[in-house]
Symmetry: C2
Subunit: 228 residues, 2 copies
Protein backbone atom coordinates (compact mmCIF):
# COMPACT_ATOMS: atom_id res chain seq x y z
CA UNK A 1 0.00 0.00 0.00
CA UNK A 2 2.09 2.88 -1.21
CA UNK A 3 -0.67 5.20 -2.42
CA UNK A 4 -2.94 7.26 -0.19
CA UNK A 5 -6.14 5.95 1.40
CA UNK A 6 -9.20 8.17 1.22
CA UNK A 7 -11.55 7.89 4.19
CA UNK A 8 -14.88 9.09 2.86
CA UNK A 9 -17.19 10.54 5.46
CA UNK A 10 -14.08 10.41 7.56
CA UNK A 11 -14.86 13.14 10.07
CA UNK A 12 -17.04 10.88 12.25
CA UNK A 13 -15.66 8.80 15.14
CA UNK A 14 -14.95 5.68 13.03
CA UNK A 15 -13.25 7.60 10.24
CA UNK A 16 -11.14 9.69 12.62
CA UNK A 17 -10.09 6.60 14.54
CA UNK A 18 -9.01 4.72 11.42
CA UNK A 19 -7.23 7.82 10.08
CA UNK A 20 -5.32 8.22 13.34
CA UNK A 21 -4.20 4.60 13.43
CA UNK A 22 -3.22 4.47 9.78
CA UNK A 23 -1.38 7.77 9.91
CA UNK A 24 0.53 6.44 12.93
CA UNK A 25 1.44 3.39 10.86
CA UNK A 26 3.01 5.69 8.25
CA UNK A 27 0.16 5.45 5.77
CA UNK A 28 -0.79 8.50 3.69
CA UNK A 29 -4.41 9.37 4.49
CA UNK A 30 -6.88 11.77 2.93
CA UNK A 31 -9.89 12.51 5.11
CA UNK A 32 -12.97 13.14 2.98
CA UNK A 33 -16.05 15.07 4.02
CA UNK A 34 -18.98 16.80 2.36
CA UNK A 35 -17.35 19.95 3.70
CA UNK A 36 -13.73 20.16 2.54
CA UNK A 37 -12.67 22.69 5.17
CA UNK A 38 -14.11 20.51 7.94
CA UNK A 39 -12.08 17.61 6.54
CA UNK A 40 -8.96 19.79 6.62
CA UNK A 41 -9.60 20.74 10.24
CA UNK A 42 -10.01 17.12 11.28
CA UNK A 43 -6.86 16.19 9.34
CA UNK A 44 -4.98 18.88 11.19
CA UNK A 45 -6.23 17.65 14.58
CA UNK A 46 -5.07 14.15 13.77
CA UNK A 47 -1.77 15.47 12.46
CA UNK A 48 -1.14 17.07 15.83
CA UNK A 49 -1.99 13.84 17.65
CA UNK A 50 0.32 11.76 15.50
CA UNK A 51 3.18 14.25 15.46
CA UNK A 52 5.95 14.70 12.95
CA UNK A 53 5.94 12.54 9.87
CA UNK A 54 2.16 12.14 9.69
CA UNK A 55 0.91 12.33 6.12
CA UNK A 56 -2.70 13.32 6.47
CA UNK A 57 -4.75 15.87 4.60
CA UNK A 58 -8.42 16.73 4.20
CA UNK A 59 -10.58 17.32 1.14
CA UNK A 60 -14.13 17.28 -0.12
CA UNK A 61 -15.23 13.63 -0.62
CA UNK A 62 -15.03 13.57 -4.44
CA UNK A 63 -11.60 15.18 -4.44
CA UNK A 64 -10.38 12.76 -1.76
CA UNK A 65 -11.69 9.87 -3.81
CA UNK A 66 -10.06 11.05 -7.02
CA UNK A 67 -6.61 10.95 -5.38
CA UNK A 68 -6.80 7.42 -3.99
CA UNK A 69 -6.82 3.86 -5.29
CA UNK A 70 -8.23 2.66 -1.99
CA UNK A 71 -11.24 4.36 -0.42
CA UNK A 72 -12.86 3.53 2.91
CA UNK A 73 -16.50 4.45 3.46
CA UNK A 74 -17.38 5.42 7.04
CA UNK A 75 -20.66 7.29 6.70
CA UNK A 76 -23.87 6.57 8.58
CA UNK A 77 -26.16 4.27 6.58
CA UNK A 78 -28.63 7.08 5.84
CA UNK A 79 -25.90 8.94 3.94
CA UNK A 80 -24.45 5.94 2.10
CA UNK A 81 -26.48 5.70 -1.10
CA UNK A 82 -26.60 9.43 -1.75
CA UNK A 83 -22.87 9.82 -1.27
CA UNK A 84 -22.10 6.89 -3.58
CA UNK A 85 -24.30 8.24 -6.35
CA UNK A 86 -22.45 11.53 -6.07
CA UNK A 87 -19.03 9.85 -5.94
CA UNK A 88 -19.59 7.48 -8.84
CA UNK A 89 -17.81 9.67 -11.44
CA UNK A 90 -14.87 10.23 -9.06
CA UNK A 91 -14.25 6.57 -8.16
CA UNK A 92 -11.39 5.33 -10.30
CA UNK A 93 -11.82 2.15 -12.34
CA UNK A 94 -9.69 -0.55 -10.74
CA UNK A 95 -9.91 1.06 -7.33
CA UNK A 96 -10.96 -0.68 -4.10
CA UNK A 97 -13.80 0.59 -1.94
CA UNK A 98 -13.84 -0.75 1.62
CA UNK A 99 -17.28 -0.29 3.12
CA UNK A 100 -17.67 -0.17 6.90
CA UNK A 101 -21.31 0.91 6.79
CA UNK A 102 -23.72 -0.72 9.22
CA UNK A 103 -27.45 -0.41 8.45
CA UNK A 104 -28.41 0.47 12.00
CA UNK A 105 -32.10 1.08 12.59
CA UNK A 106 -31.00 4.36 14.18
CA UNK A 107 -30.60 5.59 10.58
CA UNK A 108 -34.37 5.83 10.38
CA UNK A 109 -35.02 6.80 13.99
CA UNK A 110 -35.00 3.23 15.35
CA UNK A 111 -32.82 1.67 18.02
CA UNK A 112 -29.05 1.43 17.52
CA UNK A 113 -29.17 -2.19 18.70
CA UNK A 114 -31.37 -3.12 15.75
CA UNK A 115 -30.41 -3.48 12.14
CA UNK A 116 -32.43 -2.78 9.00
CA UNK A 117 -32.96 -5.30 6.24
CA UNK A 118 -31.19 -4.15 3.09
CA UNK A 119 -32.71 -5.23 -0.21
CA UNK A 120 -29.37 -6.38 -1.63
CA UNK A 121 -28.57 -8.32 1.55
CA UNK A 122 -25.68 -6.32 2.95
CA UNK A 123 -25.14 -2.56 2.97
CA UNK A 124 -21.86 -3.44 1.24
CA UNK A 125 -23.81 -5.17 -1.52
CA UNK A 126 -25.89 -2.05 -1.97
CA UNK A 127 -22.60 -0.22 -2.34
CA UNK A 128 -21.41 -2.70 -4.97
CA UNK A 129 -24.61 -2.13 -6.92
CA UNK A 130 -24.26 1.65 -6.72
CA UNK A 131 -20.61 1.92 -7.75
CA UNK A 132 -21.00 -0.47 -10.65
CA UNK A 133 -18.35 -2.69 -12.19
CA UNK A 134 -14.73 -1.59 -12.20
CA UNK A 135 -14.67 -0.76 -8.51
CA UNK A 136 -14.08 -3.70 -6.17
CA UNK A 137 -16.07 -3.56 -2.95
CA UNK A 138 -14.94 -5.04 0.36
CA UNK A 139 -16.99 -5.17 3.58
CA UNK A 140 -14.73 -4.67 6.62
CA UNK A 141 -14.09 -2.62 9.79
CA UNK A 142 -17.74 -2.81 10.93
CA UNK A 143 -16.96 -4.22 14.35
CA UNK A 144 -14.06 -2.05 15.51
CA UNK A 145 -14.80 0.19 18.49
CA UNK A 146 -14.27 3.86 17.57
CA UNK A 147 -13.53 4.46 21.25
CA UNK A 148 -10.60 2.06 21.12
CA UNK A 149 -9.36 3.40 17.79
CA UNK A 150 -9.03 6.91 19.16
CA UNK A 151 -6.75 5.73 21.98
CA UNK A 152 -3.19 4.47 22.06
CA UNK A 153 -3.66 0.89 23.23
CA UNK A 154 -3.80 -2.23 21.09
CA UNK A 155 -7.25 -2.86 19.69
CA UNK A 156 -8.47 -6.24 20.88
CA UNK A 157 -10.64 -7.43 18.00
CA UNK A 158 -10.71 -9.14 14.64
CA UNK A 159 -11.68 -7.48 11.38
CA UNK A 160 -13.71 -9.87 9.24
CA UNK A 161 -13.06 -9.14 5.59
CA UNK A 162 -15.78 -10.01 3.06
CA UNK A 163 -15.20 -9.64 -0.66
CA UNK A 164 -15.31 -11.55 -3.92
CA UNK A 165 -11.80 -10.44 -4.91
CA UNK A 166 -8.63 -11.93 -3.47
CA UNK A 167 -6.42 -8.92 -4.14
CA UNK A 168 -8.91 -6.56 -2.51
CA UNK A 169 -9.09 -8.92 0.48
CA UNK A 170 -5.33 -8.73 0.83
CA UNK A 171 -5.33 -4.93 0.65
CA UNK A 172 -8.07 -4.62 3.28
CA UNK A 173 -6.48 -7.28 5.51
CA UNK A 174 -3.09 -5.57 5.37
CA UNK A 175 -4.71 -2.28 6.30
CA UNK A 176 -6.50 -3.95 9.22
CA UNK A 177 -3.28 -5.42 10.53
CA UNK A 178 -1.51 -2.07 10.40
CA UNK A 179 -3.56 -1.30 13.52
CA UNK A 180 -1.82 -2.84 16.54
CA UNK A 181 -3.84 -5.71 18.03
CA UNK A 182 -6.17 -6.18 15.10
CA UNK A 183 -6.19 -9.48 13.20
CA UNK A 184 -7.78 -9.82 9.78
CA UNK A 185 -10.04 -12.85 9.23
CA UNK A 186 -11.15 -14.09 5.81
CA UNK A 187 -14.96 -13.84 6.00
CA UNK A 188 -15.56 -15.15 2.50
CA UNK A 189 -17.73 -13.49 -0.10
CA UNK A 190 -19.07 -9.95 -0.06
CA UNK A 191 -22.56 -11.30 0.58
CA UNK A 192 -21.43 -12.48 4.03
CA UNK A 193 -20.97 -8.85 5.02
CA UNK A 194 -24.66 -8.88 5.93
CA UNK A 195 -23.83 -11.02 8.96
CA UNK A 196 -20.77 -9.00 9.92
CA UNK A 197 -22.75 -5.75 9.66
CA UNK A 198 -25.41 -7.14 12.00
CA UNK A 199 -22.85 -8.11 14.60
CA UNK A 200 -22.37 -4.38 15.21
CA UNK A 201 -25.97 -4.21 16.47
CA UNK A 202 -25.12 -6.94 18.96
CA UNK A 203 -21.95 -5.11 20.01
CA UNK A 204 -24.02 -2.00 20.71
CA UNK A 205 -26.31 -4.14 22.89
CA UNK A 206 -23.24 -5.41 24.76
CA UNK A 207 -21.89 -1.88 25.16
CA UNK A 208 -25.20 -0.81 26.68
CA UNK A 209 -25.64 -3.84 28.94
CA UNK A 210 -22.05 -3.88 30.19
CA UNK A 211 -21.73 -0.07 30.29
CA UNK A 212 -18.63 0.10 28.08
CA UNK A 213 -17.72 1.42 24.61
CA UNK A 214 -15.22 -1.27 23.82
CA UNK A 215 -17.15 -4.43 22.88
CA UNK A 216 -15.62 -6.33 19.98
CA UNK A 217 -15.26 -9.82 18.59
CA UNK A 218 -12.53 -12.37 18.10
CA UNK A 219 -12.97 -15.53 16.14
CA UNK A 220 -11.58 -18.63 17.83
CA UNK A 221 -10.54 -22.07 16.58
CA UNK A 222 -8.81 -20.82 13.42
CA UNK A 223 -5.37 -21.97 12.29
CA UNK A 224 -4.01 -18.43 12.05
CA UNK A 225 -2.07 -16.46 14.62
CA UNK A 226 -4.29 -15.68 17.60
CA UNK A 227 -5.28 -12.10 18.26
CA UNK A 228 -3.24 -9.98 20.64
Amino acid sequence: MSGPIAILGGTGPQGRGLALRWARAGQTVIIGSRDGSRAQNVAQEINQKVGSGAQITGAENSAACAHANVCVLTVPFEAQAELLKQLKPALKPGSILIDATVPLAASVGGRPTRVLGVWQGAAAQQTAELVGKGVTVVGAFHNVSAELLKGDAEVDCDVIVCTDDDNARKVASDLAEKIPGIRAVDGGKLENARIVEQITGLLITLNIRYKVHSAGIRMTGLPIRPGA
Copy 2:
Protein backbone atom coordinates in the same frame (compact mmCIF):
# COMPACT_ATOMS: atom_id res chain seq x y z
CA MET B 1 -29.83 -26.52 38.62
CA SER B 2 -30.85 -29.61 40.57
CA GLY B 3 -33.45 -31.08 38.21
CA PRO B 4 -32.73 -32.86 34.95
CA ILE B 5 -32.20 -31.12 31.62
CA ALA B 6 -33.99 -32.54 28.61
CA ILE B 7 -32.11 -32.18 25.32
CA LEU B 8 -34.82 -32.39 22.68
CA GLY B 9 -33.65 -33.67 19.33
CA GLY B 10 -30.58 -34.57 21.32
CA THR B 11 -29.20 -37.37 19.16
CA GLY B 12 -27.54 -35.02 16.65
CA PRO B 13 -23.96 -33.77 17.04
CA GLN B 14 -24.89 -30.62 18.99
CA GLY B 15 -27.22 -32.44 21.38
CA ARG B 16 -24.77 -35.26 22.01
CA GLY B 17 -21.95 -32.83 22.63
CA LEU B 18 -23.93 -30.80 25.15
CA ALA B 19 -25.19 -33.98 26.84
CA LEU B 20 -21.63 -35.27 27.18
CA ARG B 21 -20.33 -32.07 28.68
CA TRP B 22 -23.23 -31.61 31.08
CA ALA B 23 -23.17 -35.24 32.19
CA ARG B 24 -19.45 -34.82 32.89
CA ALA B 25 -20.29 -31.78 34.98
CA GLY B 26 -22.58 -33.96 37.12
CA GLN B 27 -25.81 -32.71 35.60
CA THR B 28 -28.72 -35.13 35.14
CA VAL B 29 -29.55 -35.25 31.42
CA ILE B 30 -32.41 -36.79 29.46
CA ILE B 31 -31.71 -37.16 25.75
CA GLY B 32 -34.91 -36.75 23.76
CA SER B 33 -35.56 -38.07 20.26
CA ARG B 34 -38.51 -38.83 18.03
CA ASP B 35 -37.41 -42.43 18.50
CA GLY B 36 -37.16 -43.28 22.18
CA SER B 37 -34.96 -46.33 21.69
CA ARG B 38 -32.50 -44.32 19.61
CA ALA B 39 -32.38 -41.78 22.44
CA GLN B 40 -31.64 -44.60 24.88
CA ASN B 41 -28.82 -45.89 22.69
CA VAL B 42 -27.23 -42.47 22.46
CA ALA B 43 -27.61 -42.00 26.22
CA GLN B 44 -25.84 -45.31 26.77
CA GLU B 45 -22.98 -44.33 24.45
CA ILE B 46 -22.49 -41.09 26.34
CA ASN B 47 -22.75 -42.92 29.65
CA GLN B 48 -19.85 -45.10 28.62
CA LYS B 49 -17.80 -42.08 27.57
CA VAL B 50 -18.40 -40.26 30.84
CA GLY B 51 -17.94 -43.32 33.06
CA SER B 52 -19.28 -44.00 36.51
CA GLY B 53 -21.55 -41.45 38.08
CA ALA B 54 -23.05 -40.21 34.81
CA GLN B 55 -26.76 -39.56 35.10
CA ILE B 56 -28.01 -39.76 31.56
CA THR B 57 -31.04 -41.48 30.10
CA GLY B 58 -32.95 -41.41 26.81
CA ALA B 59 -36.63 -41.04 26.03
CA GLU B 60 -39.08 -39.99 23.34
CA ASN B 61 -39.09 -36.15 23.09
CA SER B 62 -42.45 -35.58 24.84
CA ALA B 63 -41.56 -37.91 27.69
CA ALA B 64 -38.14 -36.24 28.05
CA CYS B 65 -39.82 -32.87 28.13
CA ALA B 66 -42.39 -33.90 30.74
CA HIS B 67 -39.63 -34.82 33.20
CA ALA B 68 -37.64 -31.58 32.98
CA ASN B 69 -38.00 -27.95 34.01
CA VAL B 70 -35.28 -26.97 31.59
CA CYS B 71 -35.36 -28.17 27.99
CA VAL B 72 -32.76 -27.49 25.30
CA LEU B 73 -33.81 -27.64 21.67
CA THR B 74 -31.13 -28.91 19.27
CA VAL B 75 -33.06 -29.93 16.18
CA PRO B 76 -32.39 -28.78 12.62
CA PHE B 77 -34.53 -25.77 11.70
CA GLU B 78 -36.73 -27.78 9.36
CA ALA B 79 -37.85 -29.91 12.32
CA GLN B 80 -38.30 -27.08 14.82
CA ALA B 81 -41.88 -25.92 14.30
CA GLU B 82 -43.36 -29.38 13.92
CA LEU B 83 -41.64 -30.67 17.04
CA LEU B 84 -42.76 -27.68 19.09
CA LYS B 85 -46.39 -28.09 18.04
CA GLN B 86 -46.19 -31.70 19.10
CA LEU B 87 -44.45 -30.87 22.40
CA LYS B 88 -46.73 -28.03 23.42
CA PRO B 89 -48.90 -30.15 25.74
CA ALA B 90 -45.81 -31.71 27.34
CA LEU B 91 -43.95 -28.47 28.06
CA LYS B 92 -44.55 -27.59 31.71
CA PRO B 93 -45.81 -24.13 32.62
CA GLY B 94 -42.98 -22.26 34.30
CA SER B 95 -40.35 -24.26 32.48
CA ILE B 96 -37.45 -22.83 30.48
CA LEU B 97 -36.82 -23.74 26.86
CA ILE B 98 -33.33 -22.96 25.59
CA ASP B 99 -33.34 -22.83 21.81
CA ALA B 100 -30.10 -23.45 19.90
CA THR B 101 -31.79 -23.65 16.50
CA VAL B 102 -30.12 -21.90 13.59
CA PRO B 103 -32.25 -21.22 10.49
CA LEU B 104 -29.57 -22.40 8.04
CA ALA B 105 -30.55 -22.24 4.38
CA ALA B 106 -29.46 -25.90 4.25
CA SER B 107 -32.84 -26.61 5.89
CA VAL B 108 -34.46 -25.97 2.52
CA GLY B 109 -31.65 -27.30 0.35
CA GLY B 110 -29.61 -24.09 0.33
CA ARG B 111 -26.05 -23.45 1.46
CA PRO B 112 -25.07 -23.99 5.10
CA THR B 113 -23.22 -20.67 5.04
CA ARG B 114 -26.49 -18.84 4.39
CA VAL B 115 -29.31 -18.16 6.79
CA LEU B 116 -33.04 -17.91 6.13
CA GLY B 117 -35.16 -14.96 7.13
CA VAL B 118 -37.59 -16.00 9.85
CA TRP B 119 -40.89 -14.12 9.97
CA GLN B 120 -40.69 -13.58 13.72
CA GLY B 121 -37.10 -12.34 13.43
CA ALA B 122 -35.21 -15.14 15.20
CA ALA B 123 -35.85 -18.87 15.12
CA ALA B 124 -36.01 -18.51 18.90
CA GLN B 125 -38.82 -15.99 18.52
CA GLN B 126 -40.71 -18.45 16.36
CA THR B 127 -40.24 -20.90 19.22
CA ALA B 128 -41.62 -18.39 21.71
CA GLU B 129 -44.68 -17.92 19.53
CA LEU B 130 -45.24 -21.67 19.20
CA VAL B 131 -44.87 -22.60 22.86
CA GLY B 132 -47.09 -19.79 24.05
CA LYS B 133 -47.02 -18.01 27.39
CA GLY B 134 -45.93 -19.89 30.50
CA VAL B 135 -42.76 -21.25 28.94
CA THR B 136 -39.76 -18.92 28.96
CA VAL B 137 -37.63 -19.07 25.84
CA VAL B 138 -33.89 -18.40 25.73
CA GLY B 139 -31.73 -18.29 22.60
CA ALA B 140 -28.26 -19.74 23.34
CA PHE B 141 -25.61 -22.31 22.33
CA HIS B 142 -25.90 -21.49 18.60
CA ASN B 143 -22.20 -20.82 18.14
CA VAL B 144 -20.58 -23.73 19.95
CA SER B 145 -18.66 -26.18 17.73
CA ALA B 146 -20.14 -29.69 18.04
CA GLU B 147 -16.69 -30.98 17.12
CA LEU B 148 -15.17 -29.31 20.17
CA LEU B 149 -18.03 -30.38 22.45
CA LYS B 150 -17.47 -34.03 21.68
CA GLY B 151 -13.82 -33.85 22.75
CA ASP B 152 -12.15 -33.45 26.12
CA ALA B 153 -10.46 -30.08 25.74
CA GLU B 154 -11.72 -26.73 26.95
CA VAL B 155 -14.12 -25.12 24.51
CA ASP B 156 -12.73 -21.76 23.43
CA CYS B 157 -15.86 -19.70 22.83
CA ASP B 158 -18.53 -17.55 24.40
CA VAL B 159 -22.21 -18.43 24.58
CA ILE B 160 -24.33 -15.36 23.96
CA VAL B 161 -27.55 -15.65 25.93
CA CYS B 162 -30.64 -13.82 24.63
CA THR B 163 -33.87 -13.75 26.61
CA ASP B 164 -36.42 -11.40 28.11
CA ASP B 165 -36.28 -13.13 31.50
CA ASP B 166 -33.46 -12.61 34.03
CA ASN B 167 -33.94 -15.92 35.81
CA ALA B 168 -33.92 -17.87 32.57
CA ARG B 169 -30.74 -16.01 31.54
CA LYS B 170 -29.09 -17.08 34.76
CA VAL B 171 -30.11 -20.72 34.27
CA ALA B 172 -28.81 -20.80 30.69
CA SER B 173 -25.62 -18.92 31.61
CA ASP B 174 -24.88 -21.32 34.48
CA LEU B 175 -25.39 -24.26 32.13
CA ALA B 176 -23.03 -22.69 29.59
CA GLU B 177 -20.34 -22.17 32.20
CA LYS B 178 -20.56 -25.80 33.33
CA ILE B 179 -18.67 -26.53 30.11
CA PRO B 180 -14.95 -25.89 30.67
CA GLY B 181 -13.72 -22.91 28.66
CA ILE B 182 -17.11 -21.47 27.83
CA ARG B 183 -18.07 -18.03 29.08
CA ALA B 184 -21.67 -16.81 29.10
CA VAL B 185 -22.32 -13.31 27.74
CA ASP B 186 -25.53 -11.35 28.30
CA GLY B 187 -26.82 -10.79 24.76
CA GLY B 188 -29.91 -8.85 25.81
CA LYS B 189 -33.42 -9.56 24.66
CA LEU B 190 -34.67 -12.67 22.92
CA GLU B 191 -35.07 -10.67 19.70
CA ASN B 192 -31.28 -10.32 19.53
CA ALA B 193 -31.04 -14.08 18.99
CA ARG B 194 -31.56 -13.34 15.28
CA ILE B 195 -28.05 -11.91 15.13
CA VAL B 196 -26.51 -14.70 17.19
CA GLU B 197 -28.22 -17.33 15.03
CA GLN B 198 -26.77 -15.75 11.90
CA ILE B 199 -23.26 -15.78 13.30
CA THR B 200 -23.38 -19.56 12.93
CA GLY B 201 -23.61 -19.12 9.15
CA LEU B 202 -20.43 -17.04 9.32
CA LEU B 203 -18.72 -19.68 11.48
CA ILE B 204 -19.56 -22.30 8.85
CA THR B 205 -17.94 -20.05 6.23
CA LEU B 206 -14.85 -19.80 8.42
CA ASN B 207 -14.78 -23.58 8.95
CA ILE B 208 -14.87 -24.08 5.19
CA ARG B 209 -12.32 -21.39 4.33
CA TYR B 210 -9.86 -22.35 7.05
CA LYS B 211 -10.50 -26.12 6.75
CA VAL B 212 -11.41 -26.65 10.41
CA HIS B 213 -14.50 -27.60 12.44
CA SER B 214 -13.69 -25.46 15.41
CA ALA B 215 -14.53 -21.85 14.52
CA GLY B 216 -16.14 -19.94 17.36
CA ILE B 217 -16.48 -16.44 18.76
CA ARG B 218 -15.35 -14.54 21.80
CA MET B 219 -16.56 -11.11 22.68
CA THR B 220 -13.82 -8.68 23.71
CA GLY B 221 -13.77 -5.44 25.66
CA LEU B 222 -16.27 -6.54 28.32
CA PRO B 223 -15.75 -6.03 32.06
CA ILE B 224 -16.25 -9.73 32.85
CA ARG B 225 -13.66 -12.46 33.24
CA PRO B 226 -11.99 -13.14 29.91
CA GLY B 227 -12.55 -16.47 28.20
CA ALA B 228 -10.15 -19.36 28.77
